[in-house]
Symmetry: C3
Subunit: 643 residues, 3 copies
């Protein structure tokens, strides 16, 4: 399959006279795709019901005339002021009870019925007009759901919708309503006399005197995610009625407040917005030392993690919709990428199976919020620094053999529900599910393994030799059976199966894997400055469980207490491990699964496609790889496999 | 006097079929007391006026039948949702003006008249039904007043009540109303044209442009404390009308927003909830180094401090009502206690005079907010790790000689009013009265002294050889006289007598002790990174005063400026000292008072009863005590005195 | 010109019997000025329209009778409670939407029309009564505009006024109203469909989902500044109608939320309130190491910076209205000044041209918010520690030759608008314009140079040999021309001319100085832990630009990339430099401008007057200055120039 390049473009920001020249330069550069439209509502419908399509017709025409294909975005992330005037209560409300005002973007609550109707109306208008356009090659719904913490809303609309959602979830079998007693029992509301008489008694779990019931908090997280999914589904269904072009949404990095698998199920392509330098400062959770060292390169694993995650979300079809090409404007510090990194990031996406990589954005806007966000062109139309690297990638794509993705041998489960459960109840400061899974991913990458990230579903783990399922707070019975019955070596723990479907501790105690004699008898969280040594190497860091088992320990602490237990194809790890511990664990897993286990140099990473191994050097120094070749600083190397 | 063990139990959390077996196991373990009922309002009165007593009758019956005595808690800390529906404005309001919502506990404002009436009603119902029950051996009012910062409320109800409270405090002698001029004068409201015409002009001291008048802030603190006291008094008076059983309340660690002496004056027994590991992370104010070192043992002084404090609050009668038996759920980090510590904590309470120690809780609840809080049993009914230690203590109690408490020779004054005054006006970041008193307590304990904590009252200091009164911002004239006239050696300062009754600086300047020639001419707070050496050893840290005196200095800085002055039985210390300075000061005080002054090893502590010295080792390593014996890691040693 | 001393006094705080004795002691001490009245509204007008002038008449009389001249303050910073009752919506509102309540001071919103009317009324009353008093030698409007973050208000009054302000700023040329399209274009509101239909669509830029448009934010900052200026102008105009005495306002240190030049344009004298120790802890932005080292002396440059700044604001006429004489009450830590420092601070003000230095305050108030703020007298009327130093200064003034100020050879531009623009868009965490300018000022001072701070105006830069204009985000075309055409050596950058008048990036790209071939092609902010070395010494720290130029680089990094470019009289520095880099830059600038460039010892500073060089030693150790003499610890030395 051939890989393609593209760019994000805002014709409404520039004089019409400039469009043709822009399109020509894009085409000359080798770009194939142009995403447009996603913030242009105020120009399409400047006043309620009064449409101005002419400029957008022309923009699409001009781009198409230069051989470019359009990804058309629905403009619902930026409703104009008049939409707010019609629905003054459509704003999301933050956890402190303050409405989040007009004046930037994403100023809507997913639960607001009136805004859903406005959204349906404008999406219908868009797709009716362009659904059959020969130049529109794909759709994008909205923009970056969840960006700026916009999933959780504590509005009146959300409160009403949450009650309805709970009613449906606790539906009484025999009548047309919810069973409030079932909810009280499932949540353990007797605990502090928190019992409800009616679903309308239930408030949102913010501003409580002390923490709310974790069952309450988790239900709100699940509800909030479902609101995003149903909102997106509404858009997707409308688009499909009028267009055959595939539908996408551009996800963000480490936005985990909604279940991307659920949203992705209604779409054809997953895309994401990859800002390696901004993310390193803002979201990775890296140490200051890592942030300093990789300030101009980005975290060596964070992009790959999302590539692999969104490949699963897109069921194989995924893009990078926005690729950072220079300094961004929004991170605490905004350095320029080291020379070579824009090319490296692009090829790394292709190596992980991206169909296309689009750069954000064509020309730096000299005005408004993102005026300090670099583009491929400077505001004065001169080429910005990344452009030669993109030209090089375009040439390389044209010349090089096709990149054929292949499945990995290793599956790593990522479960949004577990992320929320950990967030609701981390047990120790700084502990997070995302961090735990990323730590495992890093260890697998250091071992030179290609990884598929998969959802927590029975079908998803089929065919792998090694399956890692750390931290899966709620592990449904069918998944437990599938893991136990799998041919793969399976890693569980910590906290696997630690909660039932409503956030209570199950009895028998976790993990309660059928036929696996291990019981978590006690959990403790540990200060980060008190690591506990594992006998033979590595440390427990931050969290550990006391394990009861008749089986001998696979790993023990220096007092001989079990840290990990193995039985059959299952290994249960009762702790968060440091880097050395996870490297040891991965080595054991590889040995069990009969997989090769390398020990890559710091900052060097690889990913296999069907016929090649791609090598990436995130370091500012070149490195010679034994038997492979010379890997330049910030460079890429393609090694033929089975040549 | 024999010491007893008990447990907190929630029959409403478990099937009725399980109760008898639970009671049997409690009894077999040697427990004597079971506290129940304090969160069960929604099960007793599921709807307004509709009561369900049957289950509670039966629970008390079952426990009593197994020889257990019940402490029955009034359920007012967790009003059901319908109470809030009847009184929508009963919620406390935080300093930012946000109501603190339903969904956890303690969701009421102490000043709300309607909630007081609901409370009186349910307490009356409880005590009418169980006031004469042979199995109810004691009462508990509410639960943990002040927990989750619930004393200070900025509600409309509080605002009205505060005005009334001020009216009463500034009552005009000749008429039935307050004298607003007297308030203006006492507070110095002329300062920034803050003068009021009427008590109804006065708002609560939150959200002011810059800090409010400290007199205003302190008055609000005193008012808020009084609201807790009068609320508790209301409950106690109702209970006494129908029951002869003693009444208690379970205080928390380092909750200082209300005057425990005042609340305790209406009760028979003081109890407190001792969570050594949670407190070390959350409240002690220890350094990270201390937190790491004692992560599994708890602070070596914090529990003892509260034992001694609440012994004073209970006028000699006190319990531990909730003793941590394993990891808790609520601290930043929640490690498991080191083996032996649950037994150590229990014996330390007995050595300080506790009548009973009850563990929280019988069985870990697998649901709701405290699902990660360990109990004596695991959720699956297996014994949790602390149980064997408790069994050992029960056996030791049965075998050992009675523990007879005795008064100490050293009194340390703790004054809630001073705590508020320092909090309103710490003068330097990080300075606190609680911290100052705890620092003195630590130094006394390092010297091997047993200490009584006493209220700032004339009677309370009688009979001691050494009285410490550091930081007593407002020292009433009678107490000054008593200290001066005492036979004891008395330590004053810093900040003793620094403010009058309304938070103004008195003239003549502090400390203005009759017949003690020392004047604080200037106060300064110092960065913690600029310690100033005291000549001969130790440092001034954080705060110092310039002292004018014709007397020679007891301690001086290296420039010869006085740090401490001695005259007669009084020593005035014009600074906060570091550990070495306080050790020096205590050595001087012991010498003056003719008390022995030891130098205990780090983490080793002792407490004398009438016939024994109890030794406690908070270290993870054993230690040999010269002439006493071997003290195991986390161990207890009983040394006969005057054998 | 003779320099004078004064003091701040609150007769309303003390019994009338004490006034004459106070006045006598002031006079004996050598004081000439007494500021009174600025917080006394509640005593002048205790109820609406009911005035009590008698006491103030008498106070002025008593002071005048002792030869003291009065600075009379208008009392508008502390409206009494009844003013708020008449205008309940007059309170400012914070960025979280919470009204900032009564109970301290500055509790008004500058945009509130009703409060403006109350202010006009009371100012009129004041000036009608005392405008011709022989004892009133000067006026002060209000008190410390902007203190406690009181410039920015998000009230309804501010919202309405902001809309009107924008209407006027975007006035349509042909009609009586604003042109909303012009605003949309200037701000780039198309960016996220933020376009408005009407000025009444525009909200204040707080609580937006993510950052508001920087053009919107900057406009609000400019508007807020203008509200202060017009409020002050209203007071000044009223005073001038009835009095010929000069009018002043007492500014604060590092309050930059309003344009002091604009406010100063309506006044005759600029004064400021200098609290060196409080500022070092609270506002300077110094490292902890600096804070520790200068804890008792204050920052060696911060006071001088403000002296030079407010000399410009006062167009040559300026005072210190409040000089710290001992520990203050409001900083995180409040140490006492080292012996000698009160004298040093006073003489430093005179050396920089102050006409008078007044101390805050006469007697320490034992009540209310500032009870821990030292005065010249203690609350018990004894002399406080600073008094002998003030007596010494008074004697020195009487004896010594007159101090004649002189213009410096170096001008450093300080632009409030640039401060707001950087604040709206710092690009990197911790970057600030104030910090940048202060860093340049420090380097100039280390080089032994006397500096004039000047506004960003064409006239202001005339006659200097060296002009520094770092960070001037918006550089108007006329100023660009003047800088280019100047005879002076001129330093520009970083960020000079980086934005147009409405906060967009101009095209051609910055700095776009006519006839200067340098273009900023890319900007990046850098982590503070990744300094980048400049070839030959010094480092780039925090921020750098990529410079395109055909000219050879004046400074380059170690890869040869330009850091600074020089052409003709202009040098453009494309980075923030560390201390070494700025010292190098200043040395180059001195060489170009033919100015002597010294290298002063740490903590030693100097300032030239017409005939003398004043030397100041901020160190706790004495130092011998080669060829000058011995400079005692915390001492002052006067060196004759051109003797």
């Amino acid at each position: 399959m051939n890989r393609e390049l593209g760019v994000c473009y805002y014709p409404e920001h520039w004089p019409q006279e400039q469009w043709a020249e822009d399109a020509r330069r894009m085409s000359d550069l080798g770009l194939k795709w142009v995403r447009i439209g996603e913030f242009a509502w105020s120009r399409i419908e400047p006043r309620p019901g009064q449409f101005d399509w002419e400029w957008l017709d022309r923009a699409i025409e001009v781009l198409g005339a230069h051989g470019l294909r359009v990804v058309l975005g629905t403009p619902t992330a930026t409703p104009p002021k008049w939409v707010l005037d019609r629905h003054p209560d459509m704003l999301a409300v933050d956890a402190d009870g303050r409405p989040r005002k007009f004046g930037s973007r994403r100023h809507y609550c997913f639960s607001h019925q009136g805004y859903r109707e406005e959204s349906a109306r404008i999406v219908t208008e868009f797709v009716r007009r362009y659904g059959r356009s020969p130049h529109v090659g794909a759709w994008q719904t909205d923009n970056e759901y969840g960006c700026h913490d916009t999933v959780l809303s504590y509005s009146e609309a959300a409160r009403r919708a949450f009650r309805d959602w709970l009613r449906a979830r606790f539906a009484a079998p025999d009548r047309n309503d919810g069973d409030i007693g079932a909810l009280n029992r499932a949540w353990g509301n007797i605990f502090w006399s928190m019992e409800y008489d009616d679903f309308d008694d239930i408030d949102l779990p913010n501003l409580t005197v002390t923490e709310p019931n974790p069952a309450h908090a988790l239900a709100f997280r699940r509800f909030s995610s479902d609101q995003v999914a149903s909102y997106n589904q509404m858009q997707a269904q409308i688009i499909r009625q009028h267009s055959d072009a595939p539908i996408s949404h551009n996800y963000m990095g480490r936005v985990t407040e909604f279940d991307h698998y659920k949203v992705g199920a209604d779409l054809d392509i997953a895309t994401w917005d990859s800002y390696p330098l901004g993310f390193l400062e803002d979201r990775v959770g890296a140490t200051a030392e890592m942030q300093r060292r990789f300030a101009r390169q980005g975290d060596p694993d964070f992009q790959a993690f999302h590539h692999d995650l969104y490949r699963a979300v897109g069921r194989g079809r995924w893009w990078v919709m926005e690729q950072q090409p220079g300094p961004v404007n929004w991170a605490p510090y905004n350095p320029a990428p080291a020379p070579g990194m824009v090319r490296l990031w692009t090829w790394e996406a292709f190596a992980h199976g991206a169909e296309a990589v689009c750069f954000f954005r064509w020309r730096q806007a000299p005005f408004a919020q993102e005026q300090m966000h670099a583009g491929l062109l400077r505001p004065d139309n001169a080429e910005a620094e990344a452009l030669p690297e993109i030209r090089q990638v375009a040439a390389e794509i044209a010349e090089a053999a096709r990149v054929q993705p292949s499945s990995a041998s290793v599956a790593l489960i990522f479960d949004y529900d577990a992320e929320w459960a950990w967030d609701v109840q981390p047990h120790g400061k700084g502990l997070s599910y995302f961090g735990l899974v990323l730590d495992h991913y890093r260890a697998l990458r250091r071992a030179g393994l290609s990884v598929d990230i998969v959802p927590p579903e029975v079908d998803a783990i089929e065919g792998y030799r090694l399956v890692l399922a750390p931290g899966l707070m709620h592990t449904p019975p069918a998944l437990k059976e599938a893991l136990k019955g799998s041919d793969a070596t399976v890693l569980l723990g910590p906290r696997s199966g630690a909660r039932d479907a409503h956030m209570s501790i199950p009895v028998p105690l976790p993990p309660a894997m059928p036929g696996f004699d291990v019981t978590v008898s006690r959990c403790e969280s540990l200060r980060p400055d008190m690591p506990e040594a594992i006998d033979g190497g590595g440390c427990i860091l931050g969290y550990r469980e006391h394990l009861d088992s008749s089986a001998p320990a696979l790993l023990s602490d220096e007092l001989g207490r079990a840290v990990a237990i193995e039985e059959g194809n299952l290994i249960y790890m009762g702790a968060c491990g440091d880097r050395a511990a996870l490297d040891r664990l991965v080595a054991i897993l590889c040995e069990r699964a009969d997989l090769p286990c390398a020990n890559l140099s710091d900052g060097v990473r690889c990913r296999d496609t069907a016929a090649e191994r791609f090598w990436f050097n995130y370091n500012l120094e070149p490195i010679d790889l034994d038997g492979v070749g010379h890997l330049p600083a910030c460079g890429v190397l393609r090694q033929k496999l089975w040549a």
